[in-house]
């Protein structure tokens, strides 16, 4: 490993994704449903990584793109070189959290993920009311989706009391062994 391959080598070690395989055909971007909404779409993101420049790498980690990606697998399904972009995105998100440089624009998305995980951390199952409540507190989007709640209740779609897994210790241990903290 030479130093001028430091970033791509690290990525490859962690994810087995070799970004050098990409020959910038753009097919992934052409098929990505959110390409228009990303500040730079997937193929461009890969090009940034290919440069192995720290400044471009941090641009990627700070981007909203990595959080917008839906992991819909459209891109890898069509990529002629089978560059696993969704897997790469998973890694970049984790790195972005580690480096504490999550894009401010992506805060709601990350908050949602955290609320989601917290909701299952202690019960093992998702409780949507808890999830929404925590998400609202995290994002202070207090009024969002409030209109939905009454009709959801009428239609029997929400439950107030969380269902829990019997072996809660087991779930908490799994969390403690994987992520200590999702705050």
């Amino acid at each position: 490993m030479t130093t001028n391959h430091a970033i791509t080598s690290r990525i490859q070690q962690a994810t087995e994704v070799d970004v050098d395989l990409c020959y910038q055909c753009g097919k992934c971007t052409a098929g990505c449903v959110l390409a228009d909404d990303m500040e730079f779409p997937s193929s461009y993101l890969i090009r940034l990584l290919q440069t192995n420049k720290e400044e471009n790498y941090s641009k990627v980690l700070k981007s909203n793109t990595i959080w917008l990606c839906l992991n819909c697998e459209n891109c890898i399904g069509r990529c002629p070189k089978e560059v696993d972009i969704p897997r790469l995105m998973d890694y970049l998100r984790t790195e972005s959290i580690k480096r504490k440089c999550v894009s401010p624009k992506a805060k709601p998305i990350l908050s949602f993920h955290k609320s989601f995980l917290n909701s299952i951390r202690y019960t093992g199952k998702l409780n949507e009311i808890n999830l929404i409540a925590e998400f609202k507190l995290r994002t202070m989007r207090l009024w969002q989706d409030v209109k939905l709640v009454p009709s959801m209740l009428i239609k029997g779609k929400l439950k107030f009391l969380p269902e829990t897994v019997k072996n809660r210790k087991n779930i908490i241990r799994i969390f403690n062994r994987t992520i200590k903290n999702t705050k």
Partner: protein, 667 residues
Amino acid sequence: MSRIGVFICHCGENISATVDCERVAQEAGRLEGVEFATDYKYMCSDPGQTLIKNAIKEHHLDGVVVGSCSPRMHEATFRKTCAEAGLNPYMCEIANLREHVSWVHEKGEATTRKAIQIVTGLISKVQRNKPLNTIKVPVTKCALVIGGGIAGIQTALDIANCGQKVIMIEKSPSIGGHMSQLSETFPTLDCSQCILTPRMVEVAQHPNITLYTYAELDKLEGFVGNFKATIRLKAKSIDYSKCTGCGLCTTKCPNKKIPSEFNEGLGMRTAIYVPFPQAVPNKPVIDKEHCLYYQKGKCKICSKSCPTGAIEYDKPDEFMTIEVGAVVVTTGFNVLKTDFFPEYGYGKYKDVITGLQFERLASASWPTLGEIRRPSDGKIPQKVVFIACCGSRDPAKGIPYCSKICCMYTAKHAMLYQHKVHGGDSTVFYMDIRAGGKNYEEFVRRAIEEDHVNYVRGRVARVYEKDGKLIVKGVDTLLGAEPVEIEADMVVLATAGVASKGAEELAQKMHISYDPYHFFAEAHPKLKPVETNTAGIFLAGACQAPKDIPETVAAASGAAVKVVSLLSQENLVREPIVAVVNRCAPPLFSTCVGCFMCETICPYHAIEHEEIKDRKTGAVIKTIAKINPGLCQGCGTCVSFCRSKSIDLEGYTNEEMYTEVMALLNH
């Protein structure tokens, strides 16, 4: 006791500057079995060679070691010298004192020592050498050309015009190959049919060429100069000696809805058919799979309508064995169909077509007389999208290589479209433009600069249909990967060029090698581009890799020259470096135990079975391996595989090599 002569060359100062040549000769002279040793300034010069010849005669030498430049340089020279003096040329060995010693080491003791060592090794080896005789094989003066595309046509004509006989077999009912389907050809835009048809006719009429259409290779045996080929002549159901080619039968056949191969499924043909109007031969065949008589036992309308009574339904396929001295394989290529591409609609949309289909649509021989109309509704498409690299450079779904011809024909298609549909709008999605050829780049630039074809760099992700339009979702990577969406009337895919159908089986029948994509492999990519690794079998055209017409024709002429130079010899002379299976006295006959490990690994299928029979009763005592010296190329792989050490390679025997190695190590 052997009588070896050692001749050390100074090569001017090339060797003597770092190696003490005199001392090498002296030390060699002291070795056991060495009768004569000397050094000289230029051993390869006339006086040098005379020196060797005289020494051989004078000292009755039975072996020679020349210490000089690389054997790759002058082995042939010195072996010839020995032969002229009456010594078997294979009793001469070359010690490489220049490339492997003087030029790579500094002057000094170690360098001279190494020279002495090498000479010593070869002195020991040559004492074990056996006189060998070159192998002579007679040549059958006729060539077989398999495949009647432009490659086969050119090869056959070139060979035939040199006065040699050619047999051509073509599996379809007519020769012409893909070139006959093309509209106009890059980079000159001349009409493909116009330049091809005269040659097709020439093939049919040439006194030195025998053409068999609807014919395929069934079996190939033998070796260079003496192949025996079995040809399957598929039943055409028509007696060509009676048929006048009037075409009445084809107009009467009731089964008219069979997708035409020649028109790439865009048009229909009858069950009895001539593939296209300019076909050679211009006589029909019956396609049994679709003929009502063959399938259901009823019809025979063609027979009733034929004025000459040429139709013969119940003839089976025939087999014919021919003898030829050389074979040229020119079986061409295929292109992938649209149903190969999931994201472009799996062949669902009628107006998503291949480049080859576009050729038909744009051809002057098409029913619209060259006016471009789309297949679904016959409308003139106002917006056409061309997609390059479809299946090519796509290791995930297609093939990793570049198909090479599509950049050029896509530019041609866009150009033809712009010429024919005024006000039309064409877009080419490409990844790179590969236009490396004479006048090629200029051609592509003309499409962009003069005909205003819109080139967008990016790969299309998806094509889907909405309200009669084809929505093409691409991206412009030169604008930071900005999405581009086009509503097109027709989409043309430059689908990958792949090996022709059945290429793998054909290669296996002929024992020639092929690459992972089933294209045939040349003996050397640069220096033996039209030879295969099997002597006497040659290649030309797109059966090796996708090629355009200029390249195909160049290779075809190249292969023809190779064939002619082979056929013009009375006998073939081959180096006697071949494997032999040992023989010994009964009851053993040979140490070979008949395991035939050797047979499994011989790359040239040179190993045969030999039955040792009892002289009196004729009963088989033992089956042992036997090498066919005509096929063996002398690689020696069998030697190292034989557990019982029953095979040896002439010129590199176990004993010779062992002695050489031991002598190098001072034993």
